[in-house]
Amino acid sequence: MKRYIRAFRAKTVASLLLGGAVGIGFCAQTATAETAQLGGTLDFVVAGEAPSKDGHRETTYAIVHPYAPFYSLLIRVNPDNPQSSDFVCDLCVGGVPEPTNGGKTFTFRIKEGVKFHDGTPLTARDVKATYDRIVFPPEGVPSARKAFFNMVDSVEAPDDTTVVFNLKFASGAFLPALATPFNWIYSKKDLDEHGYDWHRDNVNGSGPFKFVQHQPGAFVEGVRNDDYHHAGQPHLDGFKAIIAKKMSVRIQAIRGNRAAIEFRGFPPKARDDLVNALGDKLRVQESDWNCVLLFTSNHARKPFDDPRVRRALTLAVDRWGGSKYLSRIAIVKTVGGVVFPGHPLAASEEELVQLAGYGRDIEASRAEARRLLEEAGATDLTIDYNNRDVDQPYKVVGTWLIDQWAKVGVKAEQHVRPTPQFYAALRKSHEFDVSIDFNCQSVINPIADVTKFLGSSGNNYGQYDDQVLEEIYGKLARAPTEDEQRALMRQYEKRALDEMAHMGISLWWYKINPHRSYVKGWNIAPSHYLNQQLDNVWIDKSLM
């Protein structure tokens, strides 16, 4: 496990140094050895409103951005280096523990003296109660990430400072699942006295900020927690998360200094406009994004039950060319396989080009696509194509895909639907031949993230059952070493994207965060869910 983390850390730091040069190029300020200043309120914009205040039941970033600062996690992605899988303790003491018992037991020591905002002391029993609620929720209680913890057998708290996780089998997916930013530690007292619904409307955490108010549709406000358990933090007096659904409002809010930052990400054009308007008052951070835009074929419809037709669709797509041009207008950039690019388990470029549709010679790929279509008797193919009525990146990339398929003679009738109708077609009525689809995750956890490609997965809409793929995944989930995991991942990728072409990957998303240069301490993560506790964020008043 440690070797896995170290290898990933080394590789991601190296790729950051090289690939991150673009972002650093925009930086007006460098984050070298500056002393954090105390005080100030951070105003930031959020593109959506959380359905509730309960992180355990929700899946949207719109809950993470305004409410994560009120809570602590057991472990988290390193806020000073969120690009890595460098997990660090938040509520535990020292470093993330090494497993014992053949990788099946993790024992955490919990910090002493931590208090919830209502003054109740936080102990190991609160951590246990939280994870019992997440991993083993009573019937009728929703827990959005219960499936992430299918390797967990039990959680124990033998005393006030010790939490033990007993696993059914050793799994590389456990620690990333534990660091998921939704796993807020709740007070056992709250769960016992108020029940499992209480957190929908109430906040009582132990995070860097205390909840002040939520004005529906308008903002969420927090104020500094002077009893925060990380010494010297938070630096800010408070924050206000302003809800602004229109992207133009969010962009202008940064330009007009009504907000300092938006944590999700803007398209390249918005970045360029802001850079032109604000010059050195703006800093831009960029990163690969742990979201991938896919196209899913409906295997229950003919001729998409034929792997040759599905392979033809993926062979028609010029990913390398698309990366070059689409990255100028859309929030996509990197060519990759099933695993987040740059991760040790991800395919190298040499491995990628072996897959259908990833070859450097696009004309050869398209000739093969036409041949396959002819062989399958699908030369005059028109696709009923389901797309989501959201510009970035769905409509932009979706329209580009139509052009790519047209180059092998496949026509597409695109049905752009608002989100509810899009999902109704995708999940319920299955009224599509091919649909835009996506896989967005928080902590980079390839072994869990790639379940998207399994027919049995709850978020796979291709309507297929591929036992070969399931078997490969079964071995992958239990593979003890990184080398074995990597080898199995290549088999899995080859099967899913090439041999059966169950789904096609277009491009991985690319995260662009332009923000006021006076915002310091916040480092871009490869996901809009990560690094949102804001405890290390500060405002440089000399730049305001």
């Binding site: 499936a147 302003i242 989100t419 509810p420």
Partner: protein
């Protein structure tokens, strides 16, 4: 008059029942549901088990008959239920936004009336002169330019101009503050959308004022007033304008009712947390509970506005009597 008002109030009941039936069943024709949007819409894994729990909690598995009874029954019990998206009481969700929408509607109406009445009168009095042409061009432009576009231009204009003049871009606040807490902050936020919507609104009212005035100015009693030697200002203000106002009042009132719930795009452009934005969000989230009550609120506002207009008619024109 009293009888007329009571009769109109009673007639509101079948109107509201009809609207309730229509909105309830039309919404159910839309594919998709709030639980899928909420849990699966992020791309993260969403288990069918959680979606089923959510549907059960919200009563979406109940029969349509039961759901309709729960919806309509709320008007008798005073419990309008909870938003399916936020879980907050519908009344609270609407209450929070209503004051902003009402204030913006009043401000836009004031802007419109201040522009429309003088311009409409001048345009009619100076018919077929360059003044008339200018006013007509101004009002046609107002009808042609969408207020959301004008809103975007206003924000960009403010940013560009203030940046050029003061070195830092300024835009209206994006958070609502009550006029009782911070009147200047409140005005700084709402004056711009009021101008953007008030301009379009004024364009309609200007054209109506002009045509009504032209019609009235040709009436015999206006000629008589002039023959009596009354000065033109008195003829226009006392004899012509009051009679020309009837259709103008109708237009202003209908626009006012529309503004309270209908500023869907302008509210988004200025990030105003009003009823229009709530409408868009609730429809986008498939929040049937909130959407149907919002529609009913708008229906009620329109019905009440029409009643008020009818009463105003009697005040403006003493010849009108309701029996």
């Amino acid at each position: 008059m009293y009888q007329y008002v009571v009769k109109r109030l009673l007639l509101m009941i079948p109107t509201l029942i009809g609207a309730a039936l229509l909105v309830f069943f039309l919404l159910r024709l839309l594919p998709g549901d709030v639980c899928e949007v909420r849990l699966a819409g992020t791309g993260l894994f969403a288990s069918q088990e959680d979606i089923d729990i959510c549907r059960k909690e919200l009563g979406l598995d109940d029969s349509l008959y039961e759901q309709f009874i729960a919806f309509a029954g709320g008007y008798f019990t005073g419990d309008l239920g909870k938003s399916m998206w936020t879980g907050q009481p519908v009344v609270h969700e609407i209450q929070v936004r209503f004051k902003l929408s009402l204030q913006l509607a009043i401000m836009s109406t004031l802007v419109a009336v201040i522009i429309a009445l003088p311009l409409g009168i001048v345009s009619a009095v100076k018919q077929n002169t360059w003044i008339d042409y200018l006013v007509r061009a101004f009002s046609i432009a107002g009808i042609g330019i969408p207020s959301f576009w004008l809103g975007i231009m206003i924000i960009l204009g403010l940013l560009i101009i203030t940046q050029a003049w003061f070195g830092a871009g300024w835009m209206p606040p994006i958070n609502y503050v009550s006029p009782f807490e911070d009147p200047i902050g409140n005005l700084a936020q709402l004056i711009w959308p009021a101008l953007a919507t008030g301009y379009r609104y004024s364009a309609v009212a200007t054209r109506m004022t002009r045509s009504a005035m032209l019609e009235v100015l040709r009436e015999d009693y206006v000629r008589t007033a002039r023959a009596k030697g009354l000065i033109e200002r008195v003829v226009i203000n006392r004899h012509a304008l009051k009679n020309a106002l009837l259709p103008v009042v109708t237009i202003i009132a209908i626009e006012f009712a529309f503004l309270i719930g209908g500023l869907v795009v302008t509210e988004q452009v200025f990030n105003l947390n009003g009823l229009g934005k709530l409408f868009v969000d609730s429809v986008g989230n498939q929040d049937f509970a909130l959407t149907q009550h919002l529609v009913m609120l708008v229906v009620l506002i329109f019905v009440m506005t029409n009643l008020v207009v009818d009463i105003l008619y009697a005040w403006l024109d003493p010849r009108i009597r309701y029996s």
